[in-house]
Symmetry: C2
Subunit: 303 residues, 2 copies
């Protein structure tokens, strides 16, 4: 039996939905209620988006979570995913499937299909995932759309994943929850769905709070200011490091003052700044305006 | 400007559909007429699915074509694609985008979104593409479903892409159309749509006629026999090589005898065999049953 077939056999129990056609067909055939779809595709590369010795189950979880976080930012309800997987060794593949099953089950999403490939030699591997969801009833918010007078809000806190990455690299110690924040991020799906009709703009915080806030302001053709002392960060974290660290997958959104989300069980929502006429990002400290750090967040391959 | 941003700027003219949100958002938001969707995701890896010195525009074309071929096998009408691209050098990236634009334009598909990553160092690159289509009105055929008494039919001919690969590798000479068959395959979209309601089973021939026919028979729990002398192959091609070569992206389907497709302008359709009770593949020659070759086609990572 080929390695690809062995991997497919592991995946089949995850693809119970009839749309997946038992992963035996050329494509998935998906029946959905009418209404707009939300579609996203993110890749992760070994040595770039994850560490070569990150547990394969955590890599699978993260691949699902980063894509579902994009759906969360649109207020979408996830439906299914297609996986593009580069085979590793047999044990790693089984551990990857176990983590994939945990993530799909945790977020109530089905595996619809995908592809399995081999990278030549000892190449770093690259995996991709496409997530499909249903848009919220009153339309999917975009990154643009913030209005003058809107406050900038965020869910949860930022910085734990960055601290977790430092732990994973052996650079420091810290509580297990930091490492979990890095390896098993929780996309804010319930929050995104509850917020979609209340916000003027929404995005997830994947590259860092400051850079993602600056992008929202830029897309909205406005200026944004952030009050650094009120940004929720883990206890003991350096605040400036936390707001420039990536991988937290919280939601960032623009909405009028006095936002009232009545649904119980959601993550904490904190107003951390405001939009005004103009352009650019201003960072306020206790004593006035702060100098911006040289790097606002993860800028992919910026020179 | 970052390399990723420069690439995005090249892609933006290909993403004119409002669903793509100018590639500036976390996800695409796609409005479609009601009805089932067909979804597929294929990856291609440098040195595995394409040669490192294949022109980048041809790599882009092939990435689109192999995915659209999966939609063709379901009789689907393509709607859009999401691209996962690993950056190369600046010239290669521009050539890739040019080929992508040619393919999307040729097949009338829009770019909805995706992701751009960097592979570390001089790693072989991996790209993925997800294609979304609308299922045909009377349902999407599957690989299973062939019935006793059905004939096995194929569109076009097989073997040209394999000959083209040999040319690309510098192993032989041959007409430009063979190289084009390897580098710029033409998914049989019109044929798939015309055939969908007439067939009992359909698949594309991506890994080789013999292996793909054997898979259809196996999925249908039937035996299949193929008459080798009637299989259309390029003039001068070795027939056994042609029926075990991959990458031709013709359609293979099971339908009753006397199939009549009236739509003009479609590729040639040839009955090449039949389904019967039992299991396995039989290959008939001029003088009787032939020994099967050791390798029926491309089996991915078979040991």
């Amino acid at each position: 039996m080929s390695r690809e077939q062995a991997f497919l056999d592991l995946l089949k129990p995850l693809a119970r939905h009839p749309a997946a056609r038992g992963l035996a067909d050329d494509a998935a055939v998906l029946e959905l209620d009418p209404g707009p779809l939300v579609l996203t595709h993110d890749m992760i590369v070994e040595g770039v988006h994850y560490l070569p010795d990150d547990p394969p189950g955590d890599v699978a979880w993260k691949l699902v979570a980063v894509n579902l976080s994009d759906l969360a930012a649109k207020g979408a309800r996830p439906v299914g995913v297609l996986l593009g997987y580069a085979l590793g060794n047999v044990d790693d593949d089984a551990a990857f499937v176990a983590g994939l099953e945990q993530a799909l089950s945790a977020f109530d999403v089905t595996l619809l299909g995908g592809d399995t490939v081999r990278m030549p030699g000892a190449s770093p591997r690259a995996h991709g995932l496409t997530a499909i969801g249903k848009a919220p009833p009153h339309g999917a918010p975009s990154r643009a759309g913030a209005m003058v007078g809107d406050l900038l809000y965020m869910t949860g806190r930022v910085g734990a994943a960055g601290l977790g990455l430092a732990i994973a690299r052996g650079e420091r110690d810290g509580p297990a929850e930091w490492l979990a924040a890095y390896r098993r991020p929780q996309p804010r799906l319930a929050e995104g769905q509850a917020l979609a009709s209340l916000v003027h703009a929404m995005a997830d915080i994947s590259d860092g709070l400051l850079i993602d806030a600056a992008r929202m302001a830029n897309a909205s053709r406005l200026a944004v200011e952030i009050d650094l002392p009120v940004v929720p960060v883990p206890e003991g974290a350096d605040r400036m490091t936390a707001v420039t660290a990536g991988d937290d997958y919280e939601l960032l959104f623009a909405a009028p003052p006095g936002l009232n989300v009545s649904q119980p069980g959601l993550a904490m929502i904190t107003p951390i700044g405001r939009f005004r006429d103009g352009s650019g990002l201003t960072l306020n400290g206790e004593q006035g305006v702060l100098a911006l750090p040289d790097v606002l967040g993860y800028e992919h391959d910026a020179p």
